[in-house]
Subunit: 251 residues, 2 copies
Amino acid sequence: MEHARRRYRAVVAYDGTDFWGFQLQARERTVQGEIEKALNRLTGSPIRIDAAGRTDAGVHATGQVIAFNAVWKHSLPDLHRALNAVLPDDIVVQRLEIASTTFHPRFDALSRTYQYQIINQPWPDVLLRRYAWHIAKPLDGTAMQRAASYLVGEHDFASFGKPPQGQNTVRRVLRADWSTENTRLTFTITANAFLYRMVRNIVGTLVQAGMGLMEPEAVQQILAERDLKKSAPPAPAHGLCLVQVTYPEEA
Amino acid sequence: MEHARRRYRAVVAYDGTDFWGFQLQARERTVQGEIEKALNRLTGSPIRIDAAGRTDAGVHATGQVIAFNAVWKHSLPDLHRALNAVLPDDIVVQRLEIASTTFHPRFDALSRTYQYQIINQPWPDVLLRRYAWHIAKPLDGTAMQRAASYLVGEHDFASFGKPPQGQNTVRRVLRADWSTENTRLTFTITANAFLYRMVRNIVGTLVQAGMGLMEPEAVQQILAERDLKKSAPPAPAHGLCLVQVTYPEEA
């Protein structure tokens, strides 16, 4: 009996702490490497996966989207269970479904949402130390919120990152705001797409405003300069998490 | 110049994942062992610490209280900074102050509060896997809340744990309730003191009610039996956290 080759789409969560980023590397432990190894083990064939975003080393995800082609002779829930049984503890497939044969998680994505967490208190929060940037100096949340507001809209973000390919550094930011819960500050940013290190460069810059080292309005000037050297050093990777990717059919 | 020997009191947080519990052991990594090592290194003298609660292997704390005597010739903030600089990443001293010479964190405590976290969704939450018990089967939060309500008040808790010393198994529970945020259920329980494994045995039993395997009212019967075999197996250690200890002067 012959089984059809199908395209699958999965929503994947991972703790980025112990990975050298998403993208496959010859010698290092990567998210892509672990998922492809698991699929290979379950199907007996080498399988290549596509992903919505290639997160950096140390960056987490709760809503990464991947796709792959595979021949699987059992049910879809069986593949889902088997994948989670075979994957290491720090990767979980949250959702698995059949996709159209042409679905591509990166090219078809309408928007991506990232969150960045900061713990703003004198000493680190020991249970969040892997998932939040600890800043001891008090931050001015109102200044950071005002600084963030200048990012919303279509802008040339050349000052905040390099394009992963080509020359186009124009991106459309749909949302960029801070929320506060006790000593935890969470930055949520949604854009049609992001430049390389864009969120971390943005957070590093907004924190400058929060520390009073820069006027919130200076974000406009930094954008206008279109020069990567004008933004602040990037915020550390471990505070960042890819939380959602949206597609047309979900509209 | 001679420096006074003083008694210090500290509020300590730790990630219990990589410890063999709080209490000192000859060969294993423990919270007490790491803190005493740090104090020894800073003061040049062997120092013994007292603690409000001896948490089990894998149990976390955000509000453990300890006390120790030490001779320190610099300022209190200096000792605080030095301690956090010397301690490993998974222990943080949140607060440090001078205590009365007779202060004892266990004997002087009026109440302890523990929280237990459950993630109730089909697949684990990868960023909470070290701090929450994952239960895939849907839980009835209303049943768990009703079951918990029978614990409040002064009862003989012999069915839920052994006394750390002596024979007295009567404890006064001041609060025992569940809160829900998306798929996360948090149990908060405050009592004058707890028996050994009492919170984990209680949570294990309440989850039985949440799964429909037991009537919430059965908690009354279990209490009345005064027999440890009547409660359910303990919930796993990694969902539990000691969050607060209160003392008379804080009333």
